[in-house]
Symmetry: C2
Subunit: 364 residues, 2 copies
């Protein structure tokens, strides 16, 4: 922040960016076929969901497009979520598809402020898949569920002919109970709020990329996959005024912040210097020409909290082993609505958009 | 029934069958790779679930192996279920994968006696899939959900590279609310109970097989795919004492009855002459050498009711358009436990086992 000349430049940059956004035609689904970028968790996927699923399945609960839906059930409030996992390779440093599937769904429930009650597991298995691998994956799901304190209560298995699936796909859905009166979500975000991230970003995506072996990089890097329900419980129990929680999975931190700024119609200023990123991840990203803020995480959360709760929230996160390296990374402002601006470590600024293409397919 | 000579023969047959069963070694998962029959909804699938998933994910809620799990949520009781759909072709006479996915999950909830509250939809889509087909499928899901009176509240989309999925797989999970004190399930089945089926069997499986076009059969036959929650409501509201409900999908009526007889440790005597089967289905099955009692249904239910409730239950089912062709088809007995016996129309008897191979893969 603040050498004399950077302020006007920053303002001009931002105004230009807003103008470019305004002039941009409303995106239509011009593609007549599905492309990999539709599944990347960024812009194209957003368009697909808006253009096809929201239109055809429209109902008030689906509209908010969060990772979980809230369902009134008798006298209680439930969170309900689903996620399919197509990660390659199936086993990677720090985890496997089974652990990822359990943690991913536990985390979607946790981000809704819900206590995970029960998970389902659906398998689509390719004929010829090794039974030993299936057993390892099931074992790993059982272990992850036990660690998260949740049970896998129902399941389904389908087998498709050789060549019709890439080994194995796993779907996990989850039901959670909301036991408080907080209304977490973009609607609760206010100007002045602070944004925290619970630990280093990009570990999962980079660990998976490296495990594929086609990068010719040898790095000791493990996926951050972890169940975050305990960390959320600690955070909500700390007294900090929490407004919104998200786990920055596909599309990374940048995509989550861009979605929140759009949904809440606020500006978010991200301080690059404060971002926790491991040197290995930074290095690998530089070699690959990828920005770590777009790389997937599977054991990190983003919390938007009231300004005077930032320190309490930070201390609460850091008190838990999964949040030990938490940082305050961004600030919310009224202007410019719908825009995330990154203040670079060198004092410049640039607009952060959702992930557009798909530099890292099959990451979760 | 019963020309003089058939009784001893029947008894001997059954005793022999029991003895063969006793002598059969306990099945072990000797296969080291997944085969199509693991996904057929019959014996191998049962072994896979018992041998891998139940062992690794073991918990009291998963043990009953029903299509839904019961979850205590605060003061209420929930049913929770998941199902993946891999049917080929995606569009078939009487429905498509989207409608099937919605109805399949609605029906699993309905069989638990639950009122469907909310569904999730997870898509794994192959790169290059036509957007128009995706839209048609989403539209059909929206329509099916509206007909069943349930909302699709949360979703997920993953895209995999060309060649890594056969067009599209859909997972639907569902949450339902149990608003009565009935305990439906195999445990409630008693000797003397009657078994009803809500309509002709085998329509779905045969319609899909014929739609594949490789049978060189031209028949006007439509899938029976339908949401059964309304029919269940009518049945439960009729005053009939209902003990257990199942939808005979993969593996057909025979597999459901075999599972129930094993789970309840009762005998079930199925009266072939009373089975409602369309002549087209019977004819196609004869040509293909398939027994219609093993063919999948997607809009039929099997109800086990107390003996003196059979007529009330039959009338209730027949009062609903989806149950107009309902029949009483079988009777439960204390002996022989775990065995289903078919009394053929010709007066003979044979033991009905679970589906062993997979004559009809990718049927749902």
């Amino acid at each position: 922040m603040g050498s004399g000349g950077s302020e006007p430049r920053r303002e001009r940059d931002v105004l230009d960016a807003i103008e470019r956004r305004r002039r941009r035609p409303r995106r239509k689904l011009l593609d007549s076929r599905i492309t990999l970028s539709h599944g990347a968790g960024g812009k194209s996927g957003h368009d697909l969901v808006e253009g096809v699923f929201v239109r055809e399945l429209s109902n008030p609960l689906l509209e908010p497009l969060g990772d979980s839906a809230l369902v009134e059930a008798g006298s209680g409030r439930l969170a309900f979520t689903t996620d399919s996992f197509v990660v390659r390779p199936l086993f990677f440093p720090g985890g496997d598809i089974g652990e990822l599937a359990v943690n991913g769904t536990v985390n979607d429930l946790a981000m809704a402020g819900a206590r995970p009650l029960a998970l389902s597991a659906g398998f689509v298995i390719e004929e010829g898949f090794a039974l030993a691998e299936l057993e390892a994956i099931a074992k790993s799901m059982g272990k992850a569920a036990a660690e998260a304190g949740v049970a896998i209560v129902t399941g389904d298995t389908k087998v498709v002919e050789r060549g019709n699936a890439d080994g194995l796909y796993v779907n996990t859905s989850g039901v959670g109970l909301i036991e408080h009166d907080l209304r977490l979500g973009p609607d609760a975000i206010r100007a002045g709020d602070r944004v925290l991230v619970s630990g280093p970003i990009g570990d999962h995506g980079m660990a998976v990329m490296i495990a594929r072996g086609d990068l010719e990089l040898e790095l000791e890097l493990e996926s951050d996959t972890a169940p975050l329900n305990g960390l959320v419980e600690t955070l909500l129990g700390s007294g900090a005024e929490v407004h919104c929680l998200r786990d920055p999975t596909r599309g990374g931190l940048a995509t989550v912040l861009a979605e929140l700024s759009l949904a809440a119609q606020v500006g978010i200023t991200l301080d690059e210097a404060s971002l926790p990123i491991r040197p290995e991840v930074n290095g690998a990203c530089e070699i690959l020409g990828i920005d770590p803020i777009y790389v997937a995480n599977e054991g990190r959360l983003v919390a938007v909290v009231a300004p005077d709760s930032a320190d309490t929230a930070l201390a609460a996160l850091r008190s838990d082993p999964l949040g030990r390296e938490a940082e305050i990374i961004a600030e919310v402002s009224a202007e410019p609505p719908g825009l995330v601006v990154l203040e670079t470590a060198l004092g410049g600024t640039r607009v952060v958009d959702m992930l557009a293409g798909d530099p890292l397919p099959r990451i979760c």
